[in-house]
C-alpha cells in the first residue's frame, strides 16, 4: 500500500516537474522544477529497491547538479534577467522556425514509438519487486566494484580527473 503511494507521489513529481521545466519561462524556476523532477526520480529508484542509487541521486543530482545549474544561471546575469526571461521561442536563434518544429515532432514520435516497442517486449518484470527483505544494495554494489567491475571503478577516477582539470581550465582567466 505504501509502495503504491510512494510510486504515485514520485511519478507525479517526475511528470509535473519535467512538464514545468519545459513550460516555465524563468530559468531559475526551471531549475527548481528540475529539482522536483530529480527528487521524484529518487523516489522511483526507492520503489525499485535500489536504495543506494536513490540516495546517490539525492546527493549528486539534487544536491550538486541543481546547485551547479543555478550557479551557471547566475553567470548569465544581465540581459536574460533584465528582460525577466520573457523570451518566447522566437528570441532564441535557431528555435521557433518550421524546421525545428518538424524535427521536434519527428524525434518525439520516434522516442514514443521506441519506448512503446520496448515496453511491449517487457510484458513482465516492470512491476516493482514485492519480494522479502530489501537486501543491502550497498554491500552488493561494493562487492561488484572491487571484484568484477574493478576496471570501470578505477577508470571512473580518470574520468573525474579529466572533469576536474577541465573545470579548472575553463575558469582560468584568459592570458594576454
Amino acid at each position: 500500500m505504501f509502495l503504491k503511494f510512494l510510486f504515485i507521489c514520485s511519478s507525479l513529481a517526475v511528470l509535473f516537474g519535467s512538464l514545468m521545466v519545459a513550460c516555465t519561462k524563468d530559468i531559475m524556476h526551471s531549475c527548481i522544477y528540475l529539482f522536483f523532477c530529480l527528487l521524484g526520480v529518487a523516489g522511483l529508484y526507492l520503489t525499485l529497491n535500489a536504495d543506494f542509487v536513490a540516495a546517490t541521486q539525492l546527493v549528486v543530482y539534487a544536491g550538486g547538479i541543481v546547485i551547479l545549474m543555478v550557479f551557471a544561471t547566475m553567470l548569465t546575469g544581465g540581459s536574460a534577467f533584465q528582460a525577466h526571461n520573457k523570451f518566447g521561442f522566437k528570441k532564441i536563434p535557431m528555435m521557433g522556425s518550421r524546421e525545428t518544429y518538424i524535427i521536434g515532432f519527428i524525434s518525439a514520435f520516434l522516442f514514443i514509438a521506441i519506448t512503446f516497442k520496448l515496453l511491449l517486449n517487457l510484458k513482465e518484470g516492470l512491476t516493482p519487486l514485492s519480494g522479502q527483505m530489501p537486501f543491502e544494495t550497498v554491500r552488493i554494489i561494493g562487492h561488484k566494484l572491487v571484484t568484477d567491475h574493478v576496471l570501470p571503478f578505477e577508470i571512473s577516477s580518470v574520468l573525474l580527473l579529466g572533469a576536474l582539470v577541465g573545470a579548472a581550465m575553463i575558469a582560468r582567466p584568459r592570458r594576454g
Binding site: 549528486v60 550538486g64 544581465g78 514485492s130 554491500r139 575553463i170 592570458r175
Partner: protein
C-alpha cells in the same frame, strides 16, 4: 504490499510534517497578523537605503568552479561509499590488501588532479588575475 517498504514511511511523514507546519503557520498567521502594505514597506530593505537597480546581475565565475569541484568530489564519495563499506568484510577474509590498493589508486588519481589545480593556483579564491599579472611582471 510488502512489509519492507514500510521503513520509508517516516521519511515521507517527516517531509509532510515540515510542509504542513509552514503552510499551517502561514494560514493561522493570516488571521491574527496585521496587513497594511505601503509603497515604502514593499521595497526591498537592503540596508535601509532605497534599492538601486536589480540584484540579479553577473556573478563571479569562481562560485561555478567551486560547484564543479564539489560535484567531482561528490561523485567520488558516492563511488567510495560502497567500496569502503565492504572493506572490513573483505579484510576479515584476507582480501583487504587488494581493496586497499584499489582505494589507493582511485584516490591517487584524484589527488593528482587536486594537486595540479593547487599548483596552478585554481584553488585560490582571490585569484588569478593578480597572479598572472604578477607573474608577467616577474618575467
Amino acid at each position: 504490499m510488502s512489509q519492507n517498504f514500510d521503513v520509508y514511511i517516516p521519511v515521507v511523514l517527516l517531509m509532510g510534517f515540515a510542509i504542513i507546519i509552514i503552510i499551517g503557520a502561514l494560514i493561522v498567521g493570516r488571521f491574527i497578523r496585521p496587513h497594511h502594505p505601503t509603497e515604502l514597506k514593499q521595497t526591498a530593505y537592503e540596508c535601509g537605503e532605497l534599492p538601486v537597480g536589480s540584484a540579479w546581475s553577473f556573478f563571479n565565475v569562481r562560485f561555478y568552479v567551486v560547484g564543479l569541484i564539489f560535484i567531482i568530489f561528490d561523485v567520488e564519495s558516492a563511488l567510495m561509499f560502497p567500496v569502503v563499506t565492504v572493506f572490513k568484510e573483505l579484510n576479515s577474509i584476507g582480501k583487504g590488501g587488494i581493496v586497499l590498493v584499489e582505494i589507493l589508486i582511485f584516490l591517487a588519481v584524484l589527488v593528482s588532479g587536486v594537486a595540479y589545480c593547487w599548483r596552478k593556483g585554481d584553488l585560490d579564491w582571490v585569484k588569478s588575475f593578480q597572479n598572472t599579472v604578477g607573474n608577467k611582471i616577474k618575467k
